[in-house]
Structure formats: C-alpha cells, structure tokens
C-alpha cells in the first residue's frame, strides 16, 4: 500500500484528515449537547472534533456542524470498479458502425412504475437531447421508441418484444427506501421469466444509478447523473456488434 494510493481526507495539509459533518440530535443546545455532539463525531473516527454550530432547530432537536480530523483512509489500489468500459466514439463513428451492421438498432425506453420523471430518459432518447447534444432519435443508427413515464414493467416488456427491441432503456428517478431498485430488478425477473433475457440489452439510468448497481440488479450497464446520449449510443452500438459476432442463442 503505497502512500500515493492510501487516501486520507485533505483539509489544508496532506493527510490532515479534515472532514466536515453535520447532523441533528434529539437534544436541546447546551454543554451536554455539545459533549454529545463531540462524542457522536468521535464515534465516527473524528479526532479532536470541534463543534462549530449548535442551534436549536425545533422544539426538541438541535442541529450541529462539526469539523474533525478523520482517522480513516481508503486504499485506492484496492478499488476495482466495474468500469463501463465503453469506448468513447464520435457520432460519425457510431453511425459508421451501425451502417456496417446493416440495420437500425431498435431501442425502447421508459420511466417505469409510478415514476413520472421523463426528463432523464427524454434527454437520452429524444431528438432534443441534453446539454446541446441530440438524443438517439436523431441518429440514423437507431430506431428509438420512448414510451414516456409511469409505464408498468409488463407493458414495457410487451412493447419491447413486439418491436423486436435490441435494447430496453429504463429510467428510475424516485426513490425512498430503495424502491427504485426493486422496480428495476422486477423488470429483469419478468424478462428472465419470459425467457428472452439473453436476447436483449438492458440499460438502467437515473440519478441514483451507477454501473455497479445496475449490474448488481441484473442489467447489462448503468448510467448515472450527467450521462450524455453519445455515451449511450457508443455503448449500444459496440454491444450490438459484439452480440452479432457471437453465435445467436437458439430461439426458445
């Protein structure tokens, strides 16, 4: 474990460990509350915690801001994230690759369950796109269908199958006690149950999503905040190429 890869928090000197923590406790301000906040911070591994704010925030709660020197660190060398591994392609490269495929890639997207947040999936699929970059609809390479929001898993699966989708793009924005995970996982299970999981690429996206989580839920890839349409396009075209190259699974 070399010193470069062992990361500690940086305040204003290498390795000083300085972090900022804020929280609320059910206690009223005073000497005891300050001591409680200190001990609370210490329990997290903050040395010499300094309680810089202690303000009554309700009839019974106090809000604290604490600075302290964290004793913890992270070994960066031991981090092996499942990198998306998608090549960065230009728009022309995507179009070129699709031309070589000899057909359009069919994608079907939706924001599922009771989630009504279309902006994310629209950003990826619609002509209008995101941050000045046009969406998949604008590519010759894709035949893009955006089913909008509040789409039930069953409906999405059925429509995707009917359209012969190469890929299903699921957007999940809302969460509370992990409901976004459950709904996403349920779609995968549904398609697995229907026996065509290996014939479709499943992508998951949203502000709480990353590649690691999406893989864990049974998707092929995950896309988080700030994703641009081209990244998704590049991933899809390469993945379809890869799948066309390997022997087709027999129809069941």
């Amino acid at each position: 474990m070399s010193s470069q890869t062992f990361l500690r928090a940086y305040g204003d000197r290498e390795g000083d460990g300085m972090v900022q923590l804020s929280f609320t406790l059910t206690i009223l301000p005073g000497d005891r509350a300050r001591e409680a906040a200190k001990r609370f911070a210490e329990a997290h591994g903050l040395k010499h915690p300094l309680v810089v704010t202690m303000e009554q925030a309700s009839f019974e709660h106090t809000y604290f801001v604490v600075y302290g020197k964290s004793v913890h660190g992270v070994d960066a060398a031991a981090i092996h994230v499942e990198e998306l591994g998608a090549e960065a392609l230009s728009r022309d490269e995507v179009e070129g690759a699709a031309k070589a495929l000899g057909r359009k890639i069919v994608v079907v997207g939706a924001c599922t369950g009771s989630d009504a947040h279309t902006v994310g999936i629209d950003a990826i699929l619609n002509y209008k796109g995101f941050r000045g970059e046009k969406g998949l609809e604008s590519y010759k390479a894709f035949d893009a269908h955006n089913l909008g929001a509040q789409v039930e898993n069953a409906e999405l699966a059925q429509r995707a199958r009917a359209l012969g989708a190469d890929a299903i793009l699921v957007s999940q924005i809302i969460t509370q006690r992990d409901c976004h995970k459950e709904n996403a996982r349920a779609l995968v299970e549904l398609i697995e149950g229907q026996g065509w999981r290996d014939r479709v690429i499943l992508l998951l996206g949203g502000p709480r999503i990353d590649n690691k989580l999406a893989r864990a839920l049974g998707f092929d890839a995950g896309f988080g905040p700030g994703t641009l349409p081209l990244e998704v396009a590049a991933y899809l075209v390469r993945e379809v190429e890869r799948r066309e190259a390997r022997p087709q699974p027999a129809m069941r």
Binding site: T24, A57, S58, F59, A116, V119, A149, I174
Partner: protein
C-alpha cells in the same frame, strides 16, 4: 415597488382570449359529471368509511352507479330517492345502494322534487361543515395573526404521517408560515382516497382525511405556542381532485395545489375528467375560501425556462379564467411560476426578476406562488443553498406572496429537518436584509429587465391567440405547454366521465354555484 412596463391593452387582450378558452371548456364541464365528483357529493352527504380491503364506501357506491350506467343522474338522485323512500340516514342508504341488489336506475315515477326536498337538510349540513371550518380559520387567523409576505412555505414528505407531524411542528418552530405534506408518488393515479392514518409512502405521504386531521392538530398546537397561525396545504389533483378538496375544506386546510393542467401534463390524467373534477373542487374551495396554487412552475422542468417563459404567463391567464368561472376571487388564486433558468446563464438573475415582476404586476390582487430552482440543482448542497438565496432575493424584491422555499438538498432527497431549518433561516435573513430593496429604484425603461418583461407579454399574447383559435384541447395535443403532448380522450380516468342526464341532480353544486333552488341543468 420597482415596476416593469406593462402594456395594459395587451393584458386586456390576453384576458379576453383566455376567457374564450375557458368558456369553451366550461361548456363541456357544465354538461358532464365524473365518478370523482359523485364520490365527493356522496362524502359531503355523509357517506363514510371503507371496507376491509380499504375500498371506501363512496367508491363502492359510485362504482355501482357507474356499472349501471347511472352516474349521469348523480349520486344525490339515488341518495335522495332512498331518503325520500324512508331510509334512516345517508350512510344506511348508501350501504344499501352500494351492496344491495337494486338496479340503480332512474324510475319514471321518481319525484325529483321530493328527493330534492329529502336531501335539503343534508345539503345544508354539508355546506355548514365547509362554512364552519372557514369561520374557524378566520377566527384563528385573526386571533393569532400570520407572518409577513413573502409567506414562507415548506414541504414535509417522510411518507409517515406521524413523522410528518414532527417535521411540520419543527418547520413552524423554525419560522415557516405554511406547511405542505407532499403526496406519495402514485396517489394521483389512484381512483380512491385511502382511509385513515398512513405510515408508508414513497416520495411523500398519502393525502387522507385522517392525515389532514393529524397535521391540522399538530399545526394548531404549535400555532398557539408560537402565536402565529401556521397554514396547512396539500394536493387537490389527480383522479380524486374534488374529494380531496372536500376533505381539505372540512379539515380546515388553508391552501391546496389544485390544477387540472398539472395532472394532464405530468400525470397523464385525462383532460375532460380533470377539468370537470377541477370545477367541482373549486366550487368547494371557493366556498371554503381556500387559496389554490396552480402548477405552471412545473412546465419549466420539462421545457426551457428562457425560451418557454411566455407559456407560463399565457397559462396563468387561462387559469385565472378557469378559476373565475368556478367562483374564485383573485385573492384566492395563487397562480404559480418558478425560478428555473439555468443559473450559469449570464444575467440569469435579471431574467428571473423580469418575469417575477411582470407576473406580480399583472396579477396584482392574486397571492402569487413562487417556486424555487429545482431542475438545475445538483448534489452540491453548499452551492444549491446560494442558488436558493438568489431566489429568495428575487422573491422579496418583486413582492411575491407565497414563496415555496428551496432546499439545498433538492437534488438529493425530500428535505431533512436540518435542510428545512437552514432554508428558513436563509429566507428570514434575506427577506430582512433586503426588505425594502424594491422601493429603492425603478427599472430602466430600455434595460434588459424591462425588455425581457415586454417580450414575455408579447409572446404570451401571440400564444393565447393561437390557443384561442385552436382550442385548449388542440393546443395541449400539440405540446404547447411543458413540451408535453396529451390527447383529449387519452390518459387516465376518461372512463369516469359521464354526460349529465336531463334529471341530473346535485343540490350541493347548486348551492355552491349560488342557485340553491336551481333545477337540473
């Protein structure tokens, strides 16, 4: 206050166009009812409770009507007939109607006058419940007073009504004037109102009559402790728009988010359905003197806030016309708008102020509701807090009435207690530190602010001309508002729309419309 130039002629023209648009819709409304309206009437007459599966009796009753194709007569027709026929009370009548095996069809021999007479005391009692709550509100506001404008409006959204009550009290302690309990994500698509206190909801808490009571009790308690009347609000929208309006009226809520267009565009609720529901809900609201909030702010989450600013103004004119037709005075019309321009755009603050000021001047008697930045918020809570500070400044500078306070954690989660505390602290600071800034100058007639205000009004006028020509139905279908397209018969809940029968009976509506002795329409 620093004024932007407003061409009064153009405003008049906008109002005239909006009136046409609303009247067109009103014609449809006046000829229809919905299952939602009828359930509301049933509840108003005292139909209460739910079965073991949670299906409210009001639903069971109206579903039965609907199956028999009799919704167009009005639930009151049947309740009245049962009462006239000797039923002990409304509840008993309703149970019998819902679960009995009578066919629920209008009999040729039905004496409409007699059943109306039988309903009369129940109609009066229903109206009295609204009036009683309203008078209590007036009394408490008078006794305790309310905070200065902009009123500080915050949301709570734990999913659990008891936690919500804790948070609501905390919010009041920290200085809020209005507390909203955000609804669970899927509720607007439910075609019934859940019963009782609820403790599980995603993204918010279910709106139920019992939940309204719990929050009202909590807020009344702190209002007294703090010597300031803290207002309560919730959502009267979705498939149960009018039922919730009724519950809100009798549980003494003070405001309601109440806007058919929100449901149409963002929840894919059928337009006919929700326009009809909206009308009835507003008749209740008007009687109750609840302040409504409309949802134009939401347009700017899907459409660009610079390019589509005029759609917000055009929509406000239309919604003013809708509200007027439901008997609301301007003082109850909390038209909505929002601070949603990309903060990194040069002079974005000037553009925001221009629109806020324009809206303030055009709707000068209206308790304008001003919404914070949300779309361009990121997880950088520190920066987000500053973004909200500029919003607060624009709010006090342009004299907004009701300010929904931004939360620094907007892009992360529904607000924690601490987030709300800090938001209120910041608003208090800025409202104080810049209290009279708006009195200190006039906007230059040829400046960016004035020019922007002028442009928005011009564009709104042009848009209203289009909408008036094409109708609201066609305009919504073409994606004019929020960049979202919906069709007249598409969306959820259309099956619940029914043409009124010649004998359609709704004495409650008659009273609310101001012709208590009026016959069927």
């Amino acid at each position: 206050m620093a004024k932007v130039p407003v061409d009064a002629e153009k405003v008049l023209r906008c109002r005239a166009l909006a009136a046409d648009v609303a009247s067109d819709v009103q014609t449809m409304i006046d000829r229809h009812t919905t299952v939602g309206v009828e359930r509301t009437v049933a509840r108003a007459y005292g139909v209460e409770g739910a079965d073991a599966e949670g299906t409210p009796l009001a639903n069971a009753l109206v579903d039965k009507l609907h199956q028999h194709g009799s919704t167009g007569l009005g639930v009151a027709y049947f309740l009245g007939r049962a009462l006239a026929g000797g039923a002990a009370d409304v509840q008993e009548a309703a149970e019998r109607l819902a679960f009995g095996d009578e066919p629920l069809l209008a009999g040729d021999a039905d004496d409409v006058e007699a059943l109306r007479r039988a309903l009369a005391p129940h109609t009066a009692a229903a109206v009295l419940r609204i009036d009683g709550a309203r008078d209590e509100r007036v009394r408490l506001k008078g006794e305790l007073g309310v905070g200065p404008e902009p009123l500080k409006y915050v949301i709570v959204a734990t999913g659990n009504i008891h936690d919500d009550a804790t948070q609501a009290k905390a919010a009041a302690f920290a200085g809020s004037d209005i507390v909203a309990v955000i609804r669970a994500t899927a509720q607007s698509l439910l075609d019934y109102v859940p019963e009782g206190a609820t403790t599980e909801g995603y993204g918010g808490t279910f709106a139920t009559q019992e939940n309204f009571k719990i929050i009202r009790r909590a807020l009344d308690e702190v209002s007294r402790a703090l010597g300031r009347y803290v207002q309560q609000t919730n959502y009267s929208s979705g498939l149960c728009m009018s039922e919730i309006a009724w519950m809100a009226a009798v549980e003494r809520l003070d405001m309601l988010l109440n806007d058919a267009m929100y449901g149409i565009l963002f929840r894919d609720i059928n337009m006919e359905r929700t326009f009809i529901d909206q009308y009835f809900s507003r008749r209740v609201i008007a009687r109750s003197r609840i302040v409504i909030n409309t949802g134009e702010d939401n347009y700017l989450t899907t459409a660009d806030a610079v390019e589509r600013a005029h759609t917000v103004l055009a929509s406000q004119f239309i919604k003013e016309a809708f509200a007027e037709r439901a008997g609301l005075v301007p003082e109850l019309m909390g038209l909505g708008h929002a601070y949603e321009i990309d903060p990194w755009l040069e002079d974005s603050f000037l553009l925001e102020v221009a629109q806020a000021q324009l809206v303030r001047q055009i709707f000068d008697r209206h308790p304008i509701k001003w919404m914070p930045p949300t779309k361009h918020k990121t997880g950088d809570i520190f920066h987000s807090h500053v973004h909200d500070a500029m919003f607060n400044l624009a709010g006090v500078l342009t004299g907004q009435s009701i300010e929904l306070l931004g939360m620094f954690s907007e892009a992360v989660h529904t607000p924690l207690l601490m987030d709300r505390y800090l938001s209120l602290k910041s608003a208090k600071y800025i409202f104080g530190a810049a209290r009279h800034l708006g009195d200190e100058f006039e906007w230059k007639a040829d400046g960016k602010v004035a020019t922007r205000a002028r442009t928005i009004l011009d564009e709104a006028l042009t848009l209203l001309e289009d909408v008036q020509r094409e109708s609201i139905w066609a305009s919504i279908a073409s994606g004019v508002f929020a960049d979202v397209k919906r069709t007249r018969t598409g969306g959820k809940g259309h099956a619940g729309v029914v043409r009124r029968d010649g004998r359609y009976t709704n004495p409650l509506l008659d009273v609310l419309e101001g012709h208590p002795s009026g016959g069927a329409s």
